[in-house]
């Protein structure tokens, strides 16, 4: 997967954030969102290992080894930051106090269900905070490449990988398109990336989806990376 593709997805996902949102970023593409927030937008980043007010990556040489995010990468502390223990951190998540969770996914299905913690046939020995975030965040945005390494669609009729929650996703951002999950309608295609047609999306999507009456022009935070 090229870096460009990952950044495009992150720049599009960043536009979903609203002023003042408390946002939890998962590992992988979601982490990139921190570095492409729209200029002037203030959001508060939460990390489930016990911090609100996560700042950007530290300059090389100034890392604090005891100040990390959930992906165990060194981060910094912004003015107004706070620390708390793991049970409080997950009370915030499960209790509906996190506005947005941006998560990676292996599959998303027609019911909006996300699979992102286990692959069948491999020993499943890690779940971390994925299930809590999907269960408790007010809005869930999935960022993922549209297809897997072998070209297999990740938007599928029904997840074949173990699901993370029965709660449906709100928005799916891929390198080709944006889908919104609407109750009783299912997946709705609302945007396609520049140079991509609805038919291109159809050809690489196994899940049924509805095409919005008006496809919105693709927007993203202007590239910095």
């Amino acid at each position: 997967m090229s870096e460009d593709v990952r950044w495009r997805i992150a720049r599009r996902a960043a536009l979903e954030l609203r002023p003042g949102d408390v946002v939890n970023l998962g590992v992988g593409i979601p982490t990139l969102v921190a570095d492409c927030l729209p200029p002037g937008l203030t959001v508060f980043l939460h990390t489930e290992n016990g911090m609100l007010g996560v700042g950007p990556s530290p300059a090389p040489g100034s890392e604090d080894p005891y100040l990390i995010n959930a992906g165990k990468q060194p981060v910094t502390e912004l003015p107004g930051a706070s620390y708390f223990h793991s049970a409080d951190s997950f009370a915030m998540i499960r209790g509906g106090h996190i506005d947005v969770a941006i998560l990676g996914a292996l599959q998303v299905d027609e019911r909006g269900r996300v699979a992102n913690w286990a692959v069948p046939g491999r020993s499943v020995l890690g779940v971390g905070g994925a299930m809590d975030l999907l269960t408790g965040a007010r809005r869930v945005i999935v960022t993922m490449t549209h297809t897997g390494p072998g070209g297999e669609p990740k938007l599928v009729p029904e997840c074949t990988y173990p699901i993370t929650s029965v709660r449906p996703v709100d928005v799916v951002v891929t390198d080709l398109a944006v889908f919104r999950w609407v109750n009783r309608e299912g997946l709705v295609l609302t945007e396609v990336a520049p140079g991509v047609t609805v038919d291109d999306v159809r050809a690489r999507t196994a899940a049924r989806f509805r095409v919005a009456q008006e496809i919105q022009p693709w927007q993203e935070v202007p590239g910095v990376a």
Binding site: T47, P65, Y66, S86, F90, V127, M131, P162, V166
Partner: protein, 229 residues
């Protein structure tokens, strides 16, 4: 160094861990893990341990040392992926593993410390991790029952203690440590420094001393972290 009746050497402290004990160990990865106490436990003879910890360290580091020594019989945690040797040991039948969503793990420890027998959580309902578990519909939502977790001994990491054992933590090294301090019969805290009572701002104390039985000075210092409060 300030005198504290709770101060022990690491070896003395971990002699409280008996064969077959359940031991809570703080940390998120190696950050906030009580590495001095883990070293001392590795040098002891305690075996057949049940470990409650978010991770089982990394290969040959932190709790990964005890895993290699085959001293852990059972691990309860949420993310063992950072140590591939956990899956290998489980595959060989040497290690029993119980995987919980991280929030469920944390809340089960908090409940254990607060005298609550268990709770119903929406996390994991309808997934593989709920299989075989008691579930209950409350309102329009399904919940999974999770019993509380308690331990014989907790090994935790804090930054500074006062002579009574009041504890303050450092940044994201806090994680599971304060809740584990509440949920074990015997709590051993590894700290960088012990200061006289009165020197810690009472408003800043996260773990009051009644939870803490023993203090040990860390030999794995938090490098580059300012001393004192």
């Amino acid at each position: 160094m300030v005198h504290s009746s709770k101060l022990r050497t690491a070896a003395e402290a971990v002699s409280a861990v008996r064969d077959g004990d359940t031991v809570m160990v703080g940390g998120f990865g190696l950050v906030g893990a009580p590495l001095t106490l883990i070293d001392a436990l590795a040098a002891s003879t305690a075996k057949d341990l049940t470990v409650i910890s978010n991770n089982v360290g990394e290969p040959g580091r932190g709790l990964g040392v005890l895993l290699r020594q085959r001293r852990i019989r059972r691990a309860i945690g949420s993310f063992f992926t950072s140590n591939p040797e956990v899956a290998e040991a489980a595959g060989r039948g040497e290690l029993e593993v119980e995987l919980l969503p991280q929030g469920t793990l944390a809340e089960a420890i908090r409940a254990g410390g607060a005298g609550i027998a268990g709770f119903y959580t929406p996390t994991g309902a309808g997934t593989e991790l709920a299989r075989g578990r008691e579930t209950r519909r409350i309102g329009d939502r399904e919940y999974v029952f999770q019993p509380a977790l308690t331990a014989d001994v907790a090994l935790i990491r804090a930054h500074v203690a006062d002579e009574y054992g009041n504890l303050v933590y450092y940044k994201t090294a806090r994680n599971f440590n304060p809740i584990m301090a509440t949920a074990a019969r015997h709590v051993i805290a590894e700290v960088d420094e012990v200061v006289p009572a009165g020197q810690l701002d009472p408003e800043r104390i996260v773990t009051p001393h009644l939870y803490v039985d023993v203090l040990v000075i860390a030999t794995h210092k938090l490098e580059g972290v300012p001393r004192g409060v």
